[in-house]
């Protein structure tokens, strides 16, 4: 008997008892569906993080305000803007590993272009910001020195903002837009960097302070909300970091033993750590889902054992008519395999549907890769072989004489 005939016989037998067959494979269906879904959500989360890491740029340090004491009261991080433009200048001049640096302040505002308007982040910064983040222009130019120095009325748009304010085919360069009633000229549109990054409009730091954000937050002439700095090479990250720390402590006159009023972070490293955590959680969830697969396998073994007992006479007849022991074993193994493969296929379909539903309802990014599907199917075939073997072996060992005597 060939494998093909084995599958034919198996399909015939399983069709006779569709409800039982379906219930038997339910454990596999649930197990495989969970594995596929967990994989899809896990790798979606990783993709999102990778995109964020990429958007920050390589070898970037971020300096944000830390906790400050004001008259003995400890205020939370960021409640006072402790960094200044001269800090940026000092970092650039005194630390040789730093290639580029820029200070920023940010807020949200409505941008209006003709009849269209859009609410987005307004980031006041210098051209150095784009150098740090390796952010290229799709069209136009960066800010000029004059514009940066004299609060020029110019703006560079992220690709999402450009898409929302301008009709396809319209050239935004040279167009007038308005932010908080201030007319600005669009001088550049940035390349795409990722959906979370592209929804932004950049103006020169001086423009932001003078015209929009100065009064809104307690920003004085010199302060910036955060600084980003690009380190020349990967191996210099730790050194550059400690140099920035000692420089800023010195400049901010932080006494020895007192907490810094700033924080230097490596966002990419933090996100990589987060990515590791996501991977661990995903693996844990896959392990839990595998338990369901195990239970499914046991249920298949159980039903197969019952089926062998019920069909003892059939086995006897088949043996008498020339079925070899291995033919009987193949027949029952094929039944277990068909159950698992069918269950696996339904599970894959269910998992894809489920993760697409999750993606739509929770707004998560999910990514279904062939590897996860392949793995799930390999698991279900292995389950079929492992849990189908014992009943099949048992069937093949039945004495044909005894089997023919059973009713």
């Amino acid at each position: 008997m060939t494998m093909f005939q084995g599958f034919q016989i198996a399909l015939h037998a399983l069709r006779l008892n569709p409800l039982r067959s379906f219930l038997t494979m339910l454990g596999i269906v649930i197990g495989v569906a969970s594995i596929v879904t967990v994989f899809a959500i896990g790798s979606g989360a990783q993709l999102r993080l990778q995109e964020q890491i990429r958007s920050i740029g390589a070898n970037v340090l971020m300096i944000t305000p830390g906790a400050v004491y004001q008259g003995g009261v400890r205020l939370k991080d960021g409640s006072k803007l402790t960094m200044t433009e001269s800090d940026v200048q000092a970092i650039l001049e005194q630390i040789p590993e730093i290639q580029a640096a820029a200070g920023s302040i940010a807020g949200t505002a409505q941008i209006i272009h003709e009849s269209k308007n859009w609410n987005t982040t307004i980031n006041g910064t210098t051209t150095g910001h784009f150098m740090v983040r390796d952010w290229q222009l799709a069209t136009g130019r960066y800010f000029s020195g004059t514009e940066e120095a004299s609060a020029g009325k110019v703006v560079i748009l992220g690709s999402t903002v450009a898409r929302e304010l301008f009709a396809p085919g319209d050239d935004p360069i040279g167009a007038q837009i308005r932010i908080m009633k201030v007319p600005l000229e669009v001088v550049g549109v940035l390349d795409r960097k990722g959906p979370a990054q592209d929804d932004v409009a950049f103006v020169p730091l001086s423009t932001a302070k003078l015209r929009f954000l100065g009064s809104a937050s307690n920003i004085n002439r010199d302060s910036v909300a955060y600084i980003i700095a690009k380190v020349a090479a990967d191996g210099q990250m730790a050194g550059a970091r400690s140099e920035i720390e000692s420089l800023l402590r010195q400049r901010h006159r932080v006494p020895a033993g007192q907490e810094d009023d700033f924080k230097v972070q490596d966002p990419a490293a933090a996100m990589e750590a987060q990515q590791g955590a996501i991977r661990t959680v995903a693996l844990l969830l896959v392990a839990i889902a595998s338990v369901s697969l195990l239970v499914g396998g046991i249920s298949i073994m159980n039903v197969m054992i019952v089926s062998v007992t019920e069909r003892t006479r059939e086995i006897g007849i088949r043996r008498a008519l020339g079925g070899r022991m291995r033919d009987i074993r193949l027949q029952f193994l094929c039944e277990a395999l068909v159950l698992c493969l069918l269950g696996g296929a339904i599970g894959v379909a269910g998992g894809i549907t489920l993760s697409m539903t999750v993606a739509r309802m929770a707004g998560w990014i999910t990514s279904i890769d062939g590897e996860a599907i392949g793995l799930a199917l390999v698991f279900s075939i292995a389950t079929g072989l492992i849990f189908g073997f014992y009943p099949a072996h048992k069937a093949s060992r039945l004495s044909p004489i005894e089997a023919l005597k059973t009713e």
Binding site: G316, R319, L321, R324
Partner: protein, 241 residues
């Protein structure tokens, strides 16, 4: 008529079962030959060892002592797989309770032994049709066993036994579950098959059936008590009703 070559030969065959530590001898020191083209009745009351003997001739069981030869080969020396293959090709079983697979229709049941001979589906079904036609059951090819009468089921079972052109058809009480008229028809079918040269061994406890076979082997308590060839011939009426 010169003596044909023995198809099956049993030499001092005994079969002892051991159950719960007690040895029970079902067949004791039995020897006989069956030649090509014979029709033989094996008779005896229940418990006389008929079924054990049939299991050994049918390669389902091996003797504890002595030897069973099929076409000169000692079956005990063959592997389990080889014996299974020989069952598919050389032995056709007919059982008292028909033993058709309830979930397969007549033609699939008839074709079943060919699955184990490695015959493809198309060829299997074509040969099953021919076999069903030979027993007059082609019109019922797509009926399931539960839709057939006992006599019809037994005809289907005979078609199945014949499909691989076996050396020997082994029938265990083939009319035991049938009324006398249907039983007579089945016997007539066997007689017709025998006239085409088919070797048949029929196990029965019914003396009426035995008298219709040329040769009768009688068993009692596992021992061979007589082996007679009578002048009585099976009635020569048409097998196909």
């Amino acid at each position: 008529m010169s003596a044909p070559l023995p198809l099956i030969s049993l030499r001092s065959v005994s079969r002892t079962y051991r159950t719960d530590g007690v040895a029970v001898t079902a067949v004791r020191n039995v020897s006989f030959d069956i030649a090509q083209g014979e029709i033989v009745a094996v008779m005896g009351p229940s418990g006389s060892g008929k079924s054990t003997l049939m299991n050994m001739i049918g390669l389902l069981d091996l003797p504890s002592e002595g030897a069973v030869h099929l076409e000169g080969a000692n079956v005990a020396e063959l592997s389990e797989d080889r014996r299974s293959s020989l069952r598919a090709r050389s032995i056709g079983f007919v059982f008292q309770s028909y033993n058709l697979l309830a979930r397969h229709n007549a033609i699939e049941n008839v074709a079943l032994p060919l699955v184990y001979c490695g015959v493809g589906r198309k060829a299997r079904l074509a040969r099953a049709e021919a076999s069903l036609e030979a027993v007059g059951m082609l019109h019922r090819a797509h009926h399931f066993p539960r839709q057939l009468s006992g006599g019809e089921q037994q005809r289907v079972a005979i078609a199945r036994a014949l499909i691989a052109s076996p050396l020997i058809v082994l029938a265990d009480e083939p009319t035991g579950a049938l009324d006398s008229r249907t039983g007579a028809e089945i016997l007539a079918l066997f007689a017709a098959l025998n006239r085409t040269g088919q070797t048949i061994v029929m196990i029965t406890h019914d003396p009426g059936i035995a008298t219709q076979c040329r040769r009768t082997i009688r068993l009692h308590d596992g021992e061979l008590v007589s082996d007679e060839t009578t002048a009585g011939l099976l009635p020569k009426r048409s097998a196909v009703s």
